[in-house]
Symmetry: C2
Subunit: 342 residues, 2 copies
């Protein structure tokens, strides 16, 4: 169990630690014979230099902190996978946290990451997605950002100039609503999301505006935010279906709620899209495995992750960074939307 060190190698090879360090890093020429001797020892003991000691000196850990709310919602793993892919280029690896949108956990992780001297942080969800975030929580992030590069993904912090990478959720929602209108729908509802959340409020705003722009009436009763889960989608759709006057199409805050919504429709003996059209948001992998396959707005989660790392890397290299990178979402038409009955 004892970890062996550069000294152990040096002793046995009868050279100084500097020489061992040199063969380890190829940082200066070493005689072939002594190099061979040292390499043999390294192999013999399966010696791995202590990264803690190295980092203490170099001030680099090669670690990126990834703060995200729910690893169980496939959207985040997809972003993570993109980030990981991109990070390979620069040899960075990840320290992952699961905050469940709990602000105190975010603080905790922010501190831990700072203590562990990660090279940078990618922040998703939680407080950066709040319409009205407590200034203290904002300030906390700003303080950390003074010491360590942070990029915000799909979120924002008021009065702050942290670099951000976002999907244009407004435009995405417009795409979704227009699609429904073009199919001939005039009675459209909105389901899911939390009001205090920017994702939700942006989407609802785009929803209302598009409806009005197209000369349609916005029925407030049909706007039912609640949560981001499948269960939530199911429940809200249930409510909608219990109303005397029902919409013929529904926009959902994300694919998870959309899947729940479909479930509710089917449970009521109705059919998607025949009786009611449903459109999601995110385009998680599952979206085209569900029955019926989900029409949705692609956020390019993977690309979002890659881009976040690219921006973070610029920041870490003290290069100039675009304060805002926007990815354009795309409408993906599949089976869950169709023209309304008759």
């Amino acid at each position: 169990m004892k970890q062996i060190t550069i000294y152990d190698i040096a002793d046995e090879a009868k050279v100084s630690v500097a020489t061992v360090s040199r063969v380890l890093n190829g940082t200066a020429p070493v005689k072939v014979s002594t190099r061979a001797k040292i390499e043999a020892l390294i192999h013999k003991y399966q010696f791995q230099p202590n990264a803690l000691a190295r980092s203490l000196l170099s001030k680099e850990t090669g670690i990126i902190g990834f703060i995200q709310p729910d690893i169980t919602n496939p959207f985040f793993p997809e972003v993570f996978t993109g980030a990981e892919q991109e990070a390979r280029e620069s040899g960075h690896t990840f320290f992952l946290s699961n905050t469940i949108g709990d602000y105190s956990k975010e603080s905790e992780y922010l501190n831990i990451m700072q203590e562990k001297r990660v090279d940078g942080i990618i922040f998703l969800g939680g407080r950066i997605n709040l319409k009205d975030c407590d200034p203290c929580l904002v300030q906390e992030v700003v303080e950390h950002a003074k010491k360590i590069p942070i990029v915000l993904v799909n979120g924002n912090l008021r009065n702050t100039d942290l670099p951000r990478v976002v999907t244009d959720e407004y435009a995405g929602t417009v795409l979704a609503v227009r699609h429904l209108i073009e199919l001939g729908h005039t009675q459209i509802g909105f389901i899911g999301g939390q009001c205090q959340t920017t994702t939700t409020s942006i989407k609802i705003r785009a929803f209302r505006k598009t409806l009005r722009d197209e000369g349609l009436q916005v029925k407030e009763d049909w706007i039912l935010p609640d949560h981001f889960s499948m269960d939530s989608g199911r429940q809200q759709m249930q409510k909608l279906l219990a109303m005397s006057e029902k919409p013929t199409a529904v926009c959902c805050v994300n694919d998870y709620t959309a899947i729940g919504a479909i479930k509710a429709v089917v449970e009521n003996g109705l059919k998607v899209p025949d009786d009611i059209s449903i459109v999601g948001f995110d385009d998680i992998q599952l979206a085209h495995h569900v029955i019926p396959e989900l029409t949705t707005v692609s956020q390019q989660a993977y690309e979002l992750g890659r881009t976040a790392v690219k921006v973070l890397r610029q920041l870490m290299n003290k290069g100039k960074v675009k304060k805002l990178t926007t990815l354009e979402p795309q409408l993906v038409i599949r089976q869950s939307t169709a023209a309304p009955r008759r």
Copy 2:
């Protein structure tokens, strides 16, 4: 951007670093007035002690390495969530890797984790799930395990005594097959998984044995391993449905393939469970949101994660550990299984 150190604090407080260290750790009494002075400074500069320096000394990083093949398959995030929950008790956090079952990536991560001196490693998937693993790959893990505690989850390494936490997949499969037989099925197929994988071979073995024990015939053409993805389930079910003689029920290697299989059935204009019963394995959250809700075998993913951390902790504390902890799977009957037609 400059990180401040214990020296900066000591200087400004006109005390020695030792004293600062004492208030930081509460490791010895400090006069109230000097303590106050120091604490004020710590707050003023938002000082966070450098964990690298600490770990260098303490030989503990508070980090657990989590090696897993596919963060995109919800089963793994569920295990991870359980692990994280349990790890909070001891203040451990996670270093995550995504190996995509690529053995060279596993090696790479094993090395990185070793260099970073993580306190322990939880290993899922990849080589530990191989029926016939290259001895070199086995040896590599064994070498690492000499230096750092490793626990294997749902896998094994031949001729090795690394502690393991596993679901009894054999028993789980028996449960699934029996359920189908009790419903009256006699024509049963098996879909998904990779042959070289122990999960798959254990399940297929249990599948065959149970069928025979119940006096039923095993039709080899109906055993179609391939992969673990939804697409794979869809394709294999497609093949099954194209056969002249078809089974009336199908066991799937996991929930993902089962969902793909349902998809294929519906695409062929048939119904689950009316025309064909389907049972999955894992009981991912999605299983009860899919239409029809999936009958499956619960692996208690969350519990698996918790247990893995518990065992790992014992190992880290050099306590005695059970070499093998087995979790009993449970049959969860939902809507995707029913008695065969007529």
